[in-house]
Subunit: 419 residues, 2 copies
C-alpha cells in the first residue's frame, strides 16, 4: 500500500497548537482545563471533524475520535497521546503523538485504505501532573487505575502547602466534562491494540543516529510529597544551636534523594525533587515548613522501592538529628508495563517496509500507555529529540524525524486494523 | 516626677493595630504601602493627632509626630519604631516601640511634664525587607545610607526570579509619598538622642527573668541573593550522570551556609536561607534555576565577612563540580552600630528609678536604630518576648512586660528632653 504523509501540514498544525500557550513562544504552557487547553482542544476537534472522525468526550475530558472500520463491532486499534504541557515546556511532547496520529489517519484515508477494525485516536486528559499532582489522569481513569473516590478527593496541587485548590470534580465540570468518573471506564475488549508515538525525551536515538525507538518496557514511576515541619523565628535573633530550620532539613533530603538514587548503581534509577515550597518564605525568617515533591522512576519496581527505602531512612535520621517532623506521603507508585511482543513485531515489520532504522529501548518517562497496558496489548514508538531535551522551550524534533515516525505509525495502524 | 502608663489603653491599641492585617488573626501580615499598611497608618495618625502631636510625612513615607518643647529649635529627642509586618508575623514586633512611645508621651503629658527639647516620635517606613528586598528603608533614607539612585533602582522583590516588580518610585508615589528621596535626608543635628523600644526577638531576657535589655551593640547584617543556573529537562528521561540540577546545587549551598556560620565558633554569627524559588517548579521537571536569599549577621563585621568568604568559596566549588553557574549578589552589607554610653547610662538610671531589672546585651536583629546611629547618639531597649519567638503569629509579650519597658522609656525621654 502506498500513502503519503503531508509533513508540511503536520508542521503547520504543530506550530498552531503551540500557539495555545499561557507563556510567550518559544515556551509552551498549557495546563489541563486552562483557557489555553480548552481553546486548543476546540481547535484540534475541528481538525478531527474535518477528517470525518466521530467524536465523543468522556467524564474526565478524554476525547475519542474514531475512523469507523468495516466491522465496527470489533475491538478498535487505538492510538494517541496528550496535548497538555507543564509550565515553560516545549511544543513536541505529546503533541507529536496526537497530530501525528491524525496525519497518519488522513494519509491512509487519502490512499483509499478501508480499515476492517475501527481506528480510534485518543486525546488523553492531564498526562502531566501539573494541576492535580498526579500524572496520566485520563488513562488512569479509563483503565480503572483510580478508585472512584479519587473523583472527590483529587484537588489542584498548585494552591501550595497551605491553601486548598479546587477539586477535580469541580474543575472538570466547569470545563464541561460531567458525569461520574465510573462512566469513563473502558471494557477490556475495547481496544485490540494501542500504540503511542512520542518524542524520546532522552538522547539515545539521537546519539546512535537511529530513527525510531521501539519501547520494550515503561519504567515504573512513583511520586511523593515530603513535608518538613521545623520551627520558624527571626533570622537575626534566633541563634544557630536552637534552630529547627525546615529548609536545612529539606536540603539534606534533596541530597539524600540524589545519593540514594545513585547508590543503586543502575542507570535506570532516576530521582528528582522538582518542587520546593518554603513557608513563610521571607528573607529574614527561618523557614518553619517546607514541602518537596519527589519523582522516582525505575524499570525495576523492586530497585525503585529499595531507593525509596533509603530515602525514607535518611528522612528518619534527619528528622531525629534536626528535631523536625518529616512526613513522606505517596501520591502514586505505579507498576512498570511491558509492550506486547506482537505489536513490537508489527512495528519492526513496518520500519523495515518503510526503510526506517530502529532499536528497542526502555521508556523512562511516564506515558499514558503505561495505563493503557492494563486494558489492551500496547506498544510505544519514540522519535529522537535534540539533545534529549524535553519539558523546556528548546525541546525539538525535526520535520524529518517526525516524518519517519508518522509513516511507520500509519503503516502499523493499517496492518493492525486489517486483522 | 510621677506619671502613669495607661496599660489597658495601650493593650487595646496594640490589638486594634493588629487587626490591620492581610491574613486572619492571630497572624499579622502588613506589607509596607499595602492597603492594610495605609489603613493602619491612617488610624495611628489619628491617635497622634488626639495626643496633640504635630505631624509630617517625608518622601519615603516616614511619619514624624512631634511634641514641641519649650525650646523647639534645639535638636529633638527621637523615639519610635515600625509597624510593617512580614507575612504571617505577630503583633508586637515594631508596634510596641510605636504605640509604647505614644503612650509614654501621653503619660508625660498627663503628668504635666513640659519638655525643653521637642520629643519626636518616628514611624519608620519598611523596616522589613519584604517588599523591596532591603530592610530599614525609611531609616536608611533619612540617614543618607541609600544612594539617591536607589530611588529609581529599587524594585519590589516579590515578582520572583523572572518578573520585575514595580519600582519604589512608583509604589511610594501611588501611596501618596512624593518628592525626591534626597528631600528626606535629615541633618546631623536633627536629633540630640534617639531611643528605640522593641521586643527582644530572642530568649535571653525571658530565661534570665530580666525585664529590660539595654543594647550595647547592634549586629552587622548583610543580605544577598544567590542565583543558581543549571539545566532543566524531563525528570524521567534525563539520566542522573548528565544532570545539572540547580536544586541539588542549592541544597549544597544551604548546608554550606549553615556550616560556614557554625565554623566561626561564635554564637553571634547567624546565617539563614529564608527564600528558595525553584524554576520551573514542576514535579516532573529537573530544576533549571533556583534563587536563594541569604541573611548573614554578626556583631563583628570582619567575622561576618570571613563566613561570607567561606560561603563564596563553597559556591565556587559547587559550581565547578556540578557544572552550574552560581551568582552571589550583595543586596546590602551594613556596618554594626554601638549605643551611646551616655544614653545607656540614662537608661540604667531610669531603670533604677522605676525599680526595673536590666542587663546590657547585643541586638542580633536588624533595627532602624542601626541607621539612626549614623545621625545621632542612639540606644535601644528590649523587653522579653515569649520563647524568643518573633516573626510568627504566636509572638507574645505580656502587658506587664510591655509596661516595664514603656515606663522606663517615658522616664528617659523626660530626662533627655530636659537637658
Amino acid at each position: 500500500m502506498n500513502f503519503k504523509i503531508d509533513q508540511q501540514r503536520l508542521n503547520r498544525e504543530l506550530d498552531t497548537l503551540a500557539s495555545f500557550s499561557a507563556d510567550p513562544a518559544p515556551a509552551v504552557t498549557r495546563v489541563v482545563f486552562s483557557e489555553q487547553d480548552l481553546a486548543a482542544r476546540a481547535w484540534i476537534k475541528e481538525r478531527f471533524r474535518e477528517a470525518g472522525l466521530t467524536m465523543r468526550d468522556d467524564a474526565v475530558g478524554n476525547t475519542f475520535a474514531r475512523w469507523a472500520g468495516a466491522n465496527p463491532d470489533l475491538p478498535a486499534v487505538g492510538t494517541g497521546s496528550h496535548i497538555d504541557a507543564i509550565p515553560h515546556a516545549g511544543k513536541f511532547d505529546g503533541t507529536v503523538g496526537v497530530l501525528g496520529s491524525l496525519e497518519a489517519i488522513r494519509a491512509l484515508q487519502a490512499a483509499g485504505f478501508k480499515p476492517r477494525r475501527s481506528i480510534e485516536l485518543v486525546l488523553f486528559t492531564a498526562e502531566e501532573p501539573t494541576r492535580f499532582g498526579i500524572g496520566c489522569l485520563g488513562s488512569r481513569v479509563i483503565s480503572g487505575s483510580l478508585t472512584p473516590a479519587a473523583d472527590v478527593q483529587l484537588r489542584e496541587a498548585s494552591a501550595g502547602p497551605e491553601g486548598h485548590g479546587q477539586t477535580l470534580e469541580s474543575v472538570r465540570k466547569s470545563a464541561g466534562f460531567t458525569g461520574s468518573l465510573d462512566s469513563a471506564l473502558l471494557p477490556q475488549n475495547y481496544f485490540s491494540a494501542f500504540i503511542e508515538l512520542h518524542i524520546e525525551q532522552g538522547s539515545i536515538l539521537e546519539s546512535e543516529g537511529v530513527s525510531v525507538g521501539l519501547v520494550s518496557d515503561i519504567a515504573a514511576p512513583a511520586a511523593f510529597h515530603i513535608v518538613i515541619e521545623g520551627e520558624g523565628g527571626h533570622a537575626g535573633a534566633r541563634l544557630m544551636p536552637g534552630r529547627k530550620d525546615a529548609l536545612c532539613a529539606a536540603a539534606e533530603i534533596i541530597l539524600a534523594v540524589e545519593r540514594s538514587v545513585l547508590a543503586t548503581g543502575a542507570t535506570d534509577t532516576v530521582g528528582t525533587v522538582g518542587i520546593c515550597q518554603v513557608h513563610p518564605g521571607a528573607m529574614n525568617s527561618i523557614p518553619s515548613r517546607v514541602q518537596l515533591s519527589l519523582d522516582l522512576r525505575d524499570t525495576d519496581a523492586a530497585r525503585r522501592d529499595a531507593a525509596l527505602e533509603q530515602i525514607h531512612n535518611a528522612c528518619g535520621e534527619i528528622a531525629s538529628r534536626r528535631r523536625v517532623a518529616i512526613k513522606l506521603e505517596t501520591i502514586n507508585a505505579d507498576a512498570p508495563a511491558q509492550s506486547s511482543p506482537e505489536i513490537v513485531k508489527a512495528l519492526k515489520e513496518a520500519c523495515d517496509a518503510e526503510a526506517v532504522s530502529y532499536r528497542t529501548m526502555v521508556s523512562r518517562a511516564y506515558h499514558d500507555t503505561l495505563f493503557m497496558a492494563r486494558l489492551a496489548p500496547v506498544a510505544m514508538m519514540f522519535i529522537p529529540c535534540k539533545g534529549g531535551v524535553s519539558h523546556r522551550p528548546d525541546e525539538y524534533s525535526s520535520p524529518e524525524q517526525i516524518h519517519q515516525g508518522v509513516k511507520v505509525l500509519a503503516r502499523v495502524l493499517a496492518g493492525l486494523s486489517a486483522i
